[in-house]
């Protein structure tokens, strides 16, 4: 049996909380915003690199992302922390993909990469925040899926045993490979890139695959391959009024009491 590859799927997200939505298209305004690896995906990358360092069963680690040409930068970042290879899925036709179209596209790419024994996702993204791509990908690939993994207990060429974080405790789940997992922050402490890694990443040419490379039809990808569409994105209007009280504790109590009295919530001197 051949050694397995570990594929880590990552996404570029705006490296700021100060985001703006284009009112016409309801999508993120990306101009002038520095992009970073989705924070949860850093844990996925670290786990991929650690598995390769620890295990003889793994032939290669591959970082995969779908995005505009600039998303090459996060793949370079993935290479600098120790991933062996990277692939960028970029095509105008991929634009506007919802989670399903994204999962379909990633699945086609993972098939093309070949020999993927384990596919790792971050538990969700900072921008889309759905947490759906991982499970949908596994569905599409007919792979078992273990979500919210906090520890990989065992991995060989045939199976994985992982501990997953639940609301009231942990579950230990075993699954046959190939499998997909999503990881949470507890799983590891991501390293900083190394100088050699950065220099290697700088030199490496990252292959860019479009729809034809991965053999999908136009109606399977991007907006046309999406079941859902974002109709409107808005910030809910706050109905609450917030007042910050300052000063010593005694002064704050005094101010609070005055305000409550003014609002007829309390009575007294």
């Amino acid at each position: 049996m051949v050694k397995i590859k570990v594929v880590v799927c990552i996404k570029q997200v705006p490296g700021t909380t100060d985001i703006h939505i284009d009112p016409q298209t309801n999508t993120l305004v990306r101009e002038g915003v520095e992009n970073i690896i989705n924070p949860f995906d850093n844990y996925a990358l670290e786990e991929g690199v650690r598995l390769k360092e620890k295990s003889e069963e793994i032939s290669q680690t591959v970082a995969l992302t779908m995005g505009p040409p600039q998303a090459e930068q996060i793949l370079k970042d993935a290479l600098s922390v120790g991933m062996d290879e990277a692939v960028l899925l970029s095509d105008r036709e991929f634009a506007g993909a919802d989670t399903w179209a994204t999962a379909v596209t990633l699945a086609a790419a993972v098939k093309k990469i070949g020999d993927a024994g384990l596919v790792i996702f971050g538990k969700q993204t900072l921008d889309g925040d759905t947490g759906q791509v991982g499970p949908e990908f596994a569905q599409r690939m007919h792979m078992p899926f273990i979500g919210y993994v906090s520890k990989i207990c065992k991995l060989d060429r045939k199976s994985i045993q992982a501990e997953r974080l639940m609301e009231h405790g942990y579950e230990i789940i075993e699954a046959q490979l190939p499998a997909a997992i999503s990881v949470v922050k507890d799983i590891n402490e991501p390293r900083v890139p190394s100088l050699r890694g950065k220099m290697k990443a700088k030199k490496m040419e990252i292959p860019v695959w479009d729809r034809h490379h991965i053999g999908l039809d136009a109606e399977q990808v991007g907006l046309s391959g999406s079941f859902t569409q974002v109709v409107k994105v808005f910030t809910p209007q706050s109905k609450h009024e917030v007042m910050m009280l300052e000063g010593s504790t005694a002064e704050q109590v005094e101010k609070l009491f005055g305000k409550l009295k003014q609002l007829n919530v309390v009575q007294g001197a």
Binding site: L195, K198, K202
Partner: protein, 382 residues
């Protein structure tokens, strides 16, 4: 300001910045308080290839110059001087091997130090030999294939944490400083023990310990250079390492200025932020100007060394003395800008001020540096 860095130099700074922001800043106060050696951070620094910088490629290093080491040290010092000191002290420990060691010694030790798996330490200072380094009393006596070491080294940075020590001892006490030799001593060698760990004013997370040699037998081949060359090896090492101490001052001061500036922009008195007051603004302006001046002197000294310039003692001493005096002043001013809060351990300013003081003392006090500068000046002019 970009300081005309190459892409590789930029990468070094970026990596160190990430270590400072993500790994050092969140824990520095705790490390200082509990005097805990930052092993995990040092490991991270090793994994990031930063110990490889100055070591030649044939010994698994990256073959950069001192300038690159200064860039890394500066950025780590912006985060925490204990971490930067532990990092730089390993460099100080392996410089004698790099400068004067033979091929076998380099092959044996440098790859281990390049990867960061092992740390090095530099053992020169003794209770009775501080500025007067020629007065060391540790003796090394040749007996067959071994030198037998006896004596005590004091205030050795990375003491106990390092695996490889470069030790200076007298092989011929009659000859004074010309009778000193340098040796490589491994941790765990019989007759080599550690004394008390010092409780310090600043850089409290760094390890500072006594090294005790009691009939410690060292194989003859562990001598660095020839017998009697020890003092020369030490001086050559210090000439090359001083700009890195200067860069510690620059980084530390930069960190203090950043904290002071951020505070001045939010702290309100008389209904205005204190950054709007001329008294504070001029302090900030002076701090920034002094840092920039020191940085340029340090960079210049490092580049002079890297260009192969021979007479570097004066310039190297200038970069150390100016940058460390500057750091003391800037960190003191940072505490002043924080006012009462600056005196409290809640804010990082007081720690930075405590840390700064060591820079005027270690690797040659600033008084000794001025002696070096004056001697060269009087002897050679310009």
């Amino acid at each position: 300001m970009n300081y005309f860095l190459t892409e590789e130099q930029r990468m070094i700074v970026d990596i160190c910045k990430e270590i400072t922001e993500k790994k050092i800043k969140p824990v520095r106060a705790e490390l200082d308080q509990n005097q805990v050696f930052p092993s995990e951070i040092i490991q991270e620094i090793g994994n990031a290839d930063l110990f490889r910088l100055f070591i030649p490629e044939e010994y698994e290093g990256m073959g950069t110059g001192i300038f690159e080491v200064c860039l890394a040290t500066e950025e780590l010092s912006r985060g925490d001087l204990s971490v930067a000191t532990s990092y730089a002290a390993s460099g100080l420990g392996f410089l004698p091997i790099l400068i004067s060691g033979n091929k076998q010694q380099k092959e044996k030790y440098l790859p281990l130090l390049a990867s960061g798996q092992k740390l090095a330490a530099f053992g020169l200072t003794e209770p009775e030999a501080g500025s007067d380094a020629g007065a060391i009393q540790t003796k090394a006596v040749l007996e067959g294939d071994y030198y037998v070491l006896n004596g005590t080294k004091q205030w050795i940075t990375n003491g106990g944490e390092a695996d490889i020590y470069t030790i200076f001892a007298m092989t011929d006490p009659k000859k004074g400083s010309r009778g000193a030799s340098a040796f490589i001593v491994k941790k765990g060698t019989e007759g080599f023990d550690f004394g008390k760990k010092e409780d310090k004013m600043g850089i409290r997370a760094s390890a500072t310990r006594e090294l005790i040699f009691n009939n410690c037998k060292i194989p003859k081949e562990n001598m660095i250079g020839r017998e009697g060359m020890g003092f020369l090896v030490a001086m050559k090492t210090l000439d090359q390492s001083r700009p890195a101490v200067g860069s510690q001052g620059v980084g530390l001061a930069q960190g203090a200025l950043e904290e002071a500036l951020a505070y001045a922009k939010v702290r309100k008195q008389f209904s205005n932020t204190i950054s709007s007051f001329q008294a504070i603004r001029h302090m900030l302006a002076d701090m920034a100007t002094q840092i920039e001046a020191a940085r340029n002197l340090v960079y210049y000294a490092a580049k002079a060394i890297d260009s192969g310039q021979k007479d570097i003692s004066r310039l190297s001493a200038m970069s150390k003395v100016f940058a460390s005096d500057m750091a003391m002043q800037v960190t003191t001013d940072a505490v002043q800008i924080f006012g009462g809060y600056g005196y409290m351990k809640e804010y990082p300013a007081e720690k930075m001020m405590r840390d700064a003081k060591i820079l005027q003392i270690y690797e040659g006090t600033n008084q000794i540096q001025r002696d070096v500068i004056a001697l060269d000046l009087v002897k050679k002019g310009f």
